[in-house]
Amino acid sequence: METPETIKTPAESTRHQVLEAINTGKVQMVPRWRFALSAGLLGTGAIIVSLTLLFVVSLIVFMLNESGAWLVPGFGPRGWYAFFVSLPWLLIVVSIIFLVLLEILVRRYAFAYRRPLLLSLAGITLFVSMSSFIFARTGLHHQLATFALGPHMPFPGYFYQEFHSGTLRNIHRGQIKTLTNRGFLLGVRQDELISVLVTNNTRLPAGAVFSAGDRVMVFGQPQGYEFEAFGVRKIGR
């Protein structure tokens, strides 16, 4: 097929030139299957990007849920600081990139371009966030986390390992092994025990009663294997 430039003759009328190019076969119609294929590829791309985004956001939700980081802002400014420091920023940046990519992919469809960019982005964000909360509860991340601690696992394995290494700042999750006179012994990863001191300054939920076997999130700065809890909250599972 020749480019339009090669068929232009300024003296002739547009109509004549275009029809001549069509009738002589210089310009040919692109078959319908090519458009169907490109629409299919675009759709598949959008689905892959959506699923990846869903996975990454649900991983963030899972990590925050499991670590109990959701709960630390309840401990005031110190809690908020610890929360922001503990956020998986790399995953957040990755999810923003995928969100923008998804918006670019769907922008050519009327349902997206007919809405202001912010509304469209907010719609996608809301949908992905809600789906991620549901996805995070399916147990898949628990299985992947267990798997990641074993032999090597590509890309997401790193995040699961990081998460399990307990690097979240001053946030310790674990199970109460024994109640002591001054607090309790907290069992953390690999049967490690930390002595948690609960004092009058420790922020506890109103009416909270802790007992051995409870899974808790303790907020406080450890000094060796003992520390005074700034706050304690029960967490699920």
Binding site: M1, P4, I7, K8, P10, T14, R15, Q17, V18, L19, A21, I22, N23, V27, Q28, M29, V30, P31, R32, R34, F35, R107, R108, A110, Y113, R114, R115, P116, L117, L118, L119
Partner: protein, 184 residues
């Protein structure tokens, strides 16, 4: 071959089915309109002829992607819009904003059809002389609304922008027009 009574969409379907001659009817119907649009939008009569030719070639090439259950005119004007934007970029005569903040936020929807026919005609006459002084961002919706007589939704579909943004651009375009020609 001329098919005067059939709709553009019916003719487009005929062309899709292999009737090459039927494309001549679409050419007849749109040549003047697209030339007017391209010349007013690009503010260049010389380029407009070539642009229109390119638009028809692109339209024919991509006709199988046209959904004949939808209106043909916004579809072909969308092609014309892309061609004009490319031509403006290529020439580099006018700045084209990389990103328009008006696309970000929802705007209260300006009422469509507030202009009566006489007022529309009046604005069209004034516009003709002032278009060159109006930024491309506002010029295009003004051309599509006052000269090509598209509705807001159709303009939105041609430019791939929300209907509320069409309203905002038209409003600002009219305000610019008032500044350029204060007596009106």
């Amino acid at each position: 071959m001329n098919i005067p009574d059939d709709s553009d969409e019916t003719i487009a379907r005929l062309v899709q089915q292999g009737n090459k001659e039927a494309f001549g009817t679409l050419l007849n119907r749109y040549e003047t309109k697209l030339w007017r649009y391209a010349s007013k939008f690009t503010q260049n009569n010389e380029d407009a002829k070539d642009l229109v030719q390119d638009v028809f070639i692109k339209a024919y090439t991509n006709l199988q992607s046209f959904d004949s259950s939808r209106r043909f005119s916004p579809w072909i004007y969308r092609i014309a819009h892309n061609e004009c934007i490319n031509a403006i970029k290529k020439k580099g005569r006018e700045p084209l904003g990389f990103f328009d903040p008006d696309l970000l936020f929802p705007h209260p929807l300006a009422k469509e059809g507030a202009d009566d026919l006489t007022k529309r005609r009046e604005i069209r006459d004034v516009l003709d002389n002032a278009l060159g002084q109006i930024n491309t961002k506002y010029r295009e919706p003004l051309v599509l609304y006052y000269f090509e007589e598209f509705e807001y939704q159709e303009i939105g579909d041609i430019l791939h922008i929300p209907i509320s943004t069409v309203g905002v651009r038209l409003k600002r375009g009219r305000e610019l027009l008032k500044k350029i020609i204060p007596s009106r």
